[in-house]
Homo-oligomer: 212 residues x 2
DNA sequence: CAGCAAAGTAGACAGTCGTATACTTCAAAA
DNA sequence: TTTTGAAGTATACGACTGTCTACTTTGCTG
């Protein structure tokens, strides 16, 4: 039975984990009995579904990944100019994080967390998202003046940047607007700067001054 | 007695914590007895120095902060062009992280960790570092074409970016060169992009194409 | 040297934890 | 309807945890 399709204890345990993590816990620090208690199950039921806590962690990550992929796929057909695209995409992505606070917290917390296995799993997932984003940008020629390799590099940076800020976005409503516009700045400056990679610093300064 | 000046149990406990965290632990997950064991002390000695584990965490953070400040202060008088400065500074900062792996891991791990108190402490510390960096850049007029407020914004982003990559830098020797050059790209593109904030996207594209 | 406070130790308390074994419930296949 | 395997429960084990009280050692000060 898949983690997503089950109606029984397995799903209950995973959801209990997400509930606990949202407060002040980390996936790695969750206990088997604690999970069962939160899920309203006998501690030993855990063993019917998972070999140990490590496997549990990986399955929770898988559960979240499935969720995220579905969300991200929606934003494929959006605006057509680069700046327009970044604005809409950023708004969309943060809205997604906002509606999945537990998943967001887990991802941020475990990406640098104590478990190497979870770190690796999350990293390869981020890598995949970044690749998707880069290929989308290249395909639609949103920034044709930037070489593909650079687009990939910037995509990787952007994905990470957004993820880290997502936690603040979720937790601090007052800062949401700021975070969103700063993220747009981040992306636009990154791509604009990359367009000028082949120029010297003085050239760029001259250009900037000339067009004021 | 300050955490830094003690020769006895207090310092031993803090150093034990740093030793444990470097492997696969997080500051928040450390146990009192575990610390004492690693430090070669009786568990109850802990209570002679700290009220509880939360206070201990904060003191460890303070210990690390003291360390970092001393390191960062060294890089004040370096190169004079912006690009030169970013190159040397990035190299220096990563070298610092490399020689303090435990402090690096703690900072990265707790910045998004489960304890709100530690998160807050680390954030205000990063904020201070970012402010210092921005004021330094403004004072020395390294990027005079960018307004002060923007310099502050970019500094905040840069500090965070470097910190996150620092963990990979420490743990994955094979990627060190890549991380260093990508960080330089990040900074240069950010500032170059900011110099063109007042232009439209088509203007920038035209400029980029004209100078190839 | 005496006194005293800080640092460190010893032992015990009630909890929690992960795990193992054995038992019951239940639903679907034979 | 009987069989069978999965899901869930009950109980128990040893190990570890944070905390408490009481005791001993250490080093400094008067």
């Amino acid at each position: 039975m898949n983690a997503l399709t089950g109606t029984g204890g397995k799903l209950k345990l995973i959801q209990a984990a997400l509930r606990l993590i949202t407060e002040t816990r980390s996936l790695t620090s969750l206990g088997l009995r604690e999970l069962a208690r939160e899920a309203g199950l006998n501690p030993n039921t855990f063993y019917r579904h998972f070999k140990n806590l490590d496997e549990f962690g990986l399955q929770v990550l898988g559960y979240i990944a499935e969720d995220m992929k579905a969300g991200v796929r929606e934003l494929r057909q959006m605006a057509d100019s680069s700046e327009q695209a970044s604005h809409d995409t950023v708004a969309f992505v943060y809205r997604y994080f906002l509606s999945n606070p537990a998943a967001t917290t887990v991802a941020v917390r475990e990406l640098h967390g104590p478990s190497p296995a979870l770190r690796r799993a999350l990293e390869s997932q981020l890598e995949a998202s970044a690749r998707e984003m880069a290929e989308d940008i290249i395909e639609r020629q949103l920034v044709s003046a930037v070489p593909p390799e650079t687009v990939h590099e910037i995509s990787r940076m952007t994905i990470r940047y957004i993820l880290f800020r997502a936690m603040d976005y979720v937790e601090k409503p007052a800062q949401r607007e700021t975070i969103q516009t700063e993220t747009e700045h981040f992306i636009n400056r990154q791509f604009r700067g990359a367009m000028l990679d082949h120029l010297s610093q003085t050239d760029v300064e001259r250009l900037a001054l000339k067009h004021t």
